[in-house]
């Protein structure tokens, strides 16, 4: 009994160690910073000006998808903006597109998916979410055309106005995105070691030995264990948390010296995570690779811009929004990752393989149903998906699950129903389930070796049949 409990905890800790390893931090930290910058530095009017009711469809639908990607990182922005587009802006169709795209492809989920499950998976999640988001929006607009005309026809000042982004902000975004790319892309120019440093710290080797005993691992099973570097990174993360609590939590009362302590520690974490560190019996070898050089340059440029090029308001809003996302998402992610690691030992791989081991309609349906009935906090869906993948789930049904999970939870269905009415909400839910299954089937077929040309023709054929059915429905 105690033995099996210990085994669960051990498995949970091991999963946590894997997820806090250097390469995951180099993906997650920049992603949190990008999310914070999007939320704080993009003037909302720069995008919402394309969502007024007199905009033609070929502008309002793509703009809705873009708004879902850029503006709606937090669910508290999604609902007001959705209600605004529906009642006072471009109408039901674009509003639905926005509602669909927003949770599916936020920057955090997308970069995390790419890092953990592979970039082809992230690209499939991105493109299929946009294509189907626009399709579902247009279908809803066609089905409920009559009702849409009766909407409130009053003032349309909400989606007017001009705004654009300043050059420092644009440069800052480019730097942040390059940080994410340099930190996570495994190309030889970045992986190659240019020179080495030997440090005579023999204690690092003993520490590694101790860590290996604490969390046993098996490289043959793809388990990474925990390295000295990983353990130090966890330590610095805790320090960042403490400094942020004193320097960023009360930031609206003024920037203080703890603010800059937190920012410097964050920079140090990025540099340390990109370094190659090899403890051995005589000391530690530091590998200065391309990744480290790139990350160092970008980190210093970002710090300089934050301190010298931004107004105090911009610096404050950016730091606050990034910190808010970390505070809101990171604790849940840690609990989620630990739980997934523990639960994994209890699931028999055969169950998963018999339910969704093949790319069939029923397999994809299983993925969608699991996504609808389970509700996981943002990002936790990714370690869960990886667990299913390890247990033998086919990548097709896995994508069906990943697309439907953030879209459909009981809570979001109820909020949607309160704004657009029950009937429309259930049609919307049905469409999401249908398109998630189609996404899974298409991606699964691609994994099984079907050519991209045939798949795109299939996709176009499905959309054509749907639009034919819709014109019948209207008449």
């Amino acid at each position: 009994m105690i033995d099996s409990a210990l085994k669960l905890i051990g498995s949970g800790l091991e999963n946590l160690a894997t997820y806090l390893a250097a390469h995951i931090l180099l993906c997650l930290l920049p992603a949190f910073l990008i999310a914070g910058a999007m939320s704080a530095l993009i003037p909302k009017k720069a995008i919402t000006k394309f969502l007024g009711r007199d905009r033609p469809k070929y502008i309002s639908y793509p703009a809705s998808a873009l708004a879902g990607f850029l503006l709606a990182i937090c669910s508290c922005t999604v609902i007001p903006l959705f209600a605004g587009i529906y009642k006072k802006g471009a109408g039901l169709g674009p509003a639905i597109t926005f509602l669909f795209v927003a949770p599916a492809i936020n920057i955090l989920a997308l970069s995390y998916t790419g890092q953990v499950l592979g970039s082809d998976f992230a690209i499939a999640r991105l493109t299929l979410s946009i294509v189907f988001g626009i399709s579902i929006g247009m279908i809803m607009a066609t089905i409920f055309k009559q009702q849409d005309l009766l909407r409130d026809q009053n003032s349309d000042t909400l989606f007017k106005g001009e705004a654009s982004m300043s050059w420092p902000v644009i440069t800052f975004f480019i730097l942040l995105i390059s940080l994410l790319i340099v930190g996570t892309t495994p190309v030889s120019i970045l992986k190659q070691t240019y020179f080495q440093l030997e440090l005579p710290f023999t204690s690092a080797y003993l520490f590694q030995d101790f860590l290996n005993q604490l969390i046993p691992f098996d490289p043959a099973k793809g388990e990474e264990g925990i390295t000295v570097q990983g353990a130090c990174l966890i330590g610095i993360l805790v320090l960042i948390g403490l400094a942020a609590w004193k320097g960023i939590q009360p930031i609206f009362e003024g920037i203080n010296k703890w603010t800059w302590v937190a920012v410097s520690l964050l920079g140090a974490t990025l540099l340390f995570a990109s370094l190659g560190i090899m403890p051995h019996s005589e000391g530690v070898t530091l590998l200065i690779n391309g990744k480290f050089i790139g990350v160092t340059c970008i980190t210093f440029a970002l710090g300089w811009m934050l301190k010298k090029k931004f107004t105090e308001d911009q610096t404050r809003d950016f730091l606050w929004e990034s910190w808010r996302f970390v505070k809101q998402i990171f604790p849940l992610l840690i609990i989620g990752v630990f739980t997934v690691g523990a639960v994994r030992t209890l699931i028999n791989p055969q169950w998963i393989q018999s339910l969704a081991g093949e790319n069939t309609i029923s397999g994809n349906l299983v993925g969608v149903i699991f996504g609808v009935f389970m509700y996981f906090p943002t990002l936790v869906e990714v370690p869960i998906a990886q667990m299913f993948l390890d247990l033998g789930m086919h990548r097709g049904p896995l994508l069906a699950y990943l697309i439907s999970d953030p879209e459909l939870s009981l809570q979001s269905i109820l909020i949607t129903a309160s704004i657009i009415g029950k009937k429309k909400a259930w049609v919307y839910v049905g469409l999401i389930a249908f398109f998630s299954i189609i996404s899974g089937l298409l991606y699964g077929a691609w994994i099984n070796g079907m050519s991209l040309g045939i798949l795109i023709s299939c996709l176009i054929a499905i959309l054509c049949v749907l639009s034919l059915l819709l014109t019948r429905f209207k008449a």
Partner: protein
């Protein structure tokens, strides 16, 4: 609400569905009111459709005397104090 005082009472509304940023705005406004000794009545509106009445599409929203002041961002303590002073003068 001290009506005996000659200063008018400000009517402040904070709009948002109870997310972290709306709570923070509420806290900052209270702090600004205390430090500038202004009389004010704060109402929290959590219904998303109320937001549209003030032509706002993002939270948190700050409304002083029925005039939308900011939306979609948190103003700093000094900024809020300035809004309050402008509204009372």
């Amino acid at each position: 609400m001290n009506t005996v005082n000659s200063e008018p009472t400000l009517d402040i509304k904070i709009l948002g569905p109870g997310c972290a940023n709306c709570e923070l705005l509420n806290k900052l406004v209270k702090k600004a009111i205390e430090s500038s000794s202004i009389h004010a009545h704060i109402t929290k509106l959590t219904d998303p459709s109320k937001l549209l009445d003030y032509d706002m599409i993002s939270t948190p929203g700050l409304v002083i005397n029925n005039k939308a002041v900011t939306s979609g961002r948190i103003p700093s303590l000094t900024e809020i104090t300035k809004f309050l002073q402008e509204a009372t003068s």
